[in-house]
Amino acid sequence: MRAVCWQGIGEVGVENVADPRILNPRDAIVKVSSTAICGSDLHLYDGYVPAMYRGDILGHEFMGEVVDLGPGVTNLSIGDRVVVPFPISCGNCYFCEKELYSLCENSNPNAHLAEKLWGHSPAGIFGYSHITGGYAGGQAEYVRVPFADVGPLKVPDALDDEQVLFLSDILPTGYMAAEQCDIEPGDTIAVWGCGPVGLFAIQSAKLLGAGRVFAIDRFPERLAKAQAAGAEIAFNYEEVDVLETLKDLTGGRGPDACIDAVGMEAHVHGVMHVYDRVKQAMRLESDRPAALRQAILACRSGGTVSVPGVYGGFIDKVPFGSIVNKAITIKSGQTHVHRYMRPLLERIESGEIDPSFIITHRIDLDDAPLAYEAFRNKEDECVKVVMRP
């Protein structure tokens, strides 16, 4: 089959590889009908996530048709059309029973690597480095799905791929980011980063009762989409002082909650950006936390900073004094996708949400290398790429 493989920093290629097969009783094989490139795939592309190996198959946002099943999967049938959540979760462990699916204790065969870096291991993740299991991903014609009796969600034929594909990651991720803000009616929310996750966080914050949502980015097309998603004001951080503007907009108090939908490769202008780039290049700091720093400083006293953006290692110059003295609550985590898929599917079915508005590029799997480059460089107004194998 054809699969998008990581070939080194800044290099992906479509290679012919063996078809996947059932390895464990609870496995399924899914024939991929649609798959997307996630912003977090760019962290792999740019080499900021360790334990990637040449030949690793990428991709954790995908859906398709069940074509083979292990004897342990009884709730699916061959031919079912399913969306697959990006964390691999057993459904049996302490965390899965608490619906904290991305913390599954049993799905990472390389848990010892994660324990070294993070203290404990999260769930395995499709196509996301050997630290989270080294599972072959879904940017391919076929993919093996472990614990298929727990993860895949059957989707009705009436909805097309583009409406349901993002249930695999970014829609629940944006939703969880907003849910973590414990929004009270009328609350003001600021969102850093108007990529797919930021856009869904804006949309979800409105659904959950936020009064005003402010969006921060630097690309006009993304700022326009933020307004389409429900942001009252979307502004370019290169043109205005973010902290001053947010104070102005909130009578000096600051937003009730701030969402960092940027993560480890944040860009700001000025001295701090140079500082972070240099430290990151010298491996003195693994992640650049510019958005996170701003979010913490901007947040009102007693407010919440919610972090759906991906961080992998260590960050520097984080204003922890601000967290302590303003009594800030920080909430983060890989998304417990399984928990949100069904309720969000219902909202899609009822027409309340149509996630397809973020898609800017529809391409063939063979064009993945070009798409990665365009998405990374934000060329051609690229916000979201969907590929059909």
Binding site: P20, R21, L23, R26, C90, N92, Y94, H112, G134
Partner: protein, 337 residues
């Protein structure tokens, strides 16, 4: 090993400074040294650990010279201009040096220096036949390598005998498993289940009411076999076993199944006392490749948890991938460090 002392015992022998740390949980069985350490050894005249340090720094110094000034060094020892080979040899020296200074598996790294000396002598022999070579300088270099080799050999042998006599490793690990003590006890008591989560085992076959025959994988496709006996059996609470006298491998273990105080499943505690077979190349190699008993038991317990909770062991072995690099092929599929 006493079979009566399952409860925490404070009357155990005083621990020497080198004895591993023991938490309150790990002292539920009492070990006696006398029956295991029959072997005696001669007191080395030079402290081998100190010698290993000196050789480590020597390795790094020589290695740096080979990497940074390969041409000058080549001329000095009379082998002529061979910068590439010299740089490779330099990297080997640096690796051995760092290994020795790291204070882990020192004897294996010391042996790696002995191997390196043999390689150097062989290369000098080859170089001597070259017309560009300076035979006098090569002879001098060979004499220097030979004397260092003698030191390396001395250090390796001394370290091997010292480490063989250092206290046996007592390894303790625990993991919370979403199951009952009864189910876990029954699973473990059926010894044929053990290879399903102890990855280094090939098979365990019951040979009697309390006895079983174990076959374990060893490096280079070899296997190690021994017989073990259950020496303590507390239904639904725990088991202790040990190898029968005269086995190639000496090992004692205890597993306890404790209900979690908050009712969140069962805490499985394993304590294994493991005596490396002194001087056996297999164990040296296993150490060099990082198969430490502690990591092994940790991984085994993780797999037991997966098997009990989910019915399978999470794996990616056998999945497709694109073209791998040499490093990927060497690393993937084995336990990554």
């Amino acid at each position: 090993m006493s079979t009566e002392s399952f409860e925490p015992s404070r009357s155990a022998r005083p621990r020497s400074a080198a004895a591993p740390y023991a938490s309150p949980y790990t002292s539920y069985s009492e070990w006696s040294d006398e029956e295991i350490y029959a072997e005696q050894y001669e007191e080395p005249r030079i402290d081998p650990h100190r010698l290993a340090n000196v050789l480590g720094w020597f390795s790094i110094g020589l290695g740096l010279a080979e990497v940074l000034a390969p041409r000058a060094l080549g001329r000095a020892i009379g082998v002529g201009d061979r910068p590439q080979i010299m740089r490779l040899l330099g990297m080997r020296e640096i690796a051995s040096g760092l290994g020795l200074l790291s204070q882990r598996s020192t004897q294996a790294w010391a042996w790696s220096r002995v191997g390196g000396d043999a390689m150097d002598l062989a290369l000098l022999g080859i170089a001597a036949r070259d017309e560009r070579a300076d035979p006098k300088r090569i002879a001098f270099a060979a004499a220097a390598v030979t004397s260092v080799a003698a030191l390396d050999l001395y250090a390796s042998r001394a370290l091997s005998s010292v480490q063989a006599l250092e206290p046996a490793e007592i390894v303790s690990e625990s993991r919370a498993i979403n199951s009952t003590p009864e189910a876990l006890y029954a699973f473990w008591k059926n010894v044929e289940n053990l290879p399903r989560f102890m990855s280094h085992l090939e098979s365990v076959t019951p040979t009697g009411e309390r006895t079983s025959h174990w076959v374990a994988k060893a490096p280079a496709g070899m296997s190690v076999e021994w017989d073990a006996e259950i020496v303590r059996d507390d239904p639904n609470e725990g088991l202790s076993w040990q190898t029968v006298p005269g086995s190639e491998v000496t090992h004692e273990g205890t597993v306890r199944f404790e209900p979690d105080p908050a009712g969140r499943g069962t805490v499985v505690r394993v304590q294994v006392r493991y005596i490396p077979p002194a001087g056996k190349l297999g164990v040296q190699l296993a150490r060099l490749f990082g198969e430490e008993p502690k990591l092994q038991i940790k991984d085994d317990l993780r797999r037991l948890k997966q098997l009990i909770e989910t019915g399978e062991v999470a794996t990616t072995l056998g999945q497709p991938a694109g073209r791998r690099s040499l490093i990927g092929r060497a690393t993937l599929g084995r336990r990554m460090q």
